[in-house]
């Protein structure tokens, strides 16, 4: 599942780069979008990723990479404007709507996304997913947080410690 458009060269079209996921799927994407990743930006500035070479990303599978690129493509224009000083309120609202829907996904995908955002150093995406996970645990008790995030059941010692703390900080559980 490659990106739909494939620019062929630099004749007026935006510069394209190729990214290769861990399972060897090639994604062709505008350099501006890929450059949202601090890691990729350095390689691209050095002239990497063009032509038939491609940049291998051994830590990111194709499903995750396609999601990451969806984010990058959407956010690239605003980022190119340097924080979008001339962005309209409509543009910003649209990005916000996109972000909200973007993280409305399965938890395992969220985890893969935040790992990828971390590895590729895409600050906006990492922040977006971290906020989503924080929202997921916000109103929950320690046990509910453990269940939500897939922790194993607590050992009897951990359980006893949790109970003792809950007694001490009763107000946090009212």
């Amino acid at each position: 599942m490659a990106a739909p458009e494939s620019g062929d060269g630099n004749n007026g079209a935006a510069r394209m780069v190729t990214l290769i996921s861990s399972d060897n799927t090639r994604f062709e994407v505008e350099a501006a979008a890929a450059s949202l990743s601090q890691t990729l930006q350095l390689t691209i500035l050095d002239g990497g990723g063009g032509g038939g070479d491609g940049i291998p990303l051994p830590n990111v599978d194709s499903a995750t990479l396609s999601k990451v690129l969806e984010y990058c493509i959407k956010h690239a224009p605003a980022a190119a404007n340097g924080g979008a000083p001339n962005a309209t309120a409509v543009d910003r609202a649209e990005l916000e709507r996109f972000d909200n829907e973007f993280v409305n996904i399965d938890q395992s995908v969220l985890y893969s996304l935040i790992m990828a955002a971390h590895n590729l150093e895409i600050e906006g995406l990492q922040s977006l997913v971290a906020k989503k996970v924080a929202d997921m645990i916000k109103g929950k008790s320690p046990m509910e947080i453990r269940r939500t995030l897939g922790f194993p059941d607590p050992t009897p010692e951990e359980q006893a410690e949790m109970n003792a703390h809950m007694l001490e900080y009763g107000w946090a559980y009212e």
């Binding site: 985890y111 935040i114 790992m115 971390h118 990492q126 922040s127 971290a130 906020k131 996970v133 924080a134 645990i137 916000k138 109103g139 929950k140 008790s141 320690p142 947080i145 453990r146 995030l149 897939g150 922790f151 194993p152 607590p154 050992t155 951990e158 949790m162 703390h165 809950m166 001490e168 900080y169 009763g170 107000w171 946090a172 559980y173 009212e174």
Partner: protein, 201 residues
């Protein structure tokens, strides 16, 4: 025995990114998160996290204030008036029946200094987020008295203030002093990381 698993799938620095985004105006969130597991508790109580949390969210929010009540009223203990999502604070009063009146005279670093009257006239340090308290030795009270750093509620007058605690300068009908609680350092080990603190109004 299997080694303890802490944060499956999420690496620790990503956990930090998540916890950093828990809302500061709901201190209970941080407390609850600190009870999830030991690595989280270590993370939340670390100085590094505190610094980042402060930088990320800015000044700590006001979580409420303490109101010293007129000792002639039936209420003999300062009331906590929450302005954030703290439902109530744990009063030591029930366990200290021999204090007929407790008066907040200072408030800092998550602790409230109370003076009590009744069968025992003492200075008491109260940790409002846990309800713990510690009665200070009598010589502390005597030393404070010598330095005029405490005030009797009945004798609380404006003219008494120059030598008195700064926080008691706010007067109004129905109450005699307001102390502002902006959080608590006592829960540092449990997750506030010292972000919240107690300030005088």
């Amino acid at each position: 025995m299997a080694p303890p698993r802490s944060t499956p799938e999420l690496m620790e620095d990503l956990v930090e990114e998540v916890l950093l985004r828990l809302p500061p105006d709901e201190p209970a969130c941080l407390v609850r998160a600190s009870l999830v597991c030991k690595p989280w508790r270590r993370l939340l109580s670390g100085r590094a996290f505190l610094r980042r949390y402060r930088a990320f969210h800015g000044a700590p929010p006001l979580v409420g204030f303490l109101l010293n009540r007129d000792p002639l009223d039936s209420c003999r203990f300062p009331s906590f008036v929450p302005t954030a999502s703290i439902p109530s604070l744990a009063h030591p009063a029930a366990a200290a029946a021999d204090w007929s009146i407790a008066w907040a005279i200072d408030c800092r670093h998550g602790r409230v200094l109370l003076q009590t009257w009744g069968t025992s006239e003492r200075l008491v340090v109260w940790y409002p987020t846990t309800g713990d308290w510690r009665v200070l030795p009598r010589h502390v009270l005597r030393r404070c008295a010598l330095r005029r750093r405490w005030l009797r509620p009945h004798g609380l007058q404006r003219r008494a203030l120059p030598g008195g605690p700064r926080g008691l300068q706010h007067f109004g009908p129905g109450h005699m002093g307001v102390l502002v609680l902006v959080g608590d350092e006592r829960v540092e080990h449990a997750g506030f990381g010292g972000y919240y603190q107690v300030l005088l109004c």
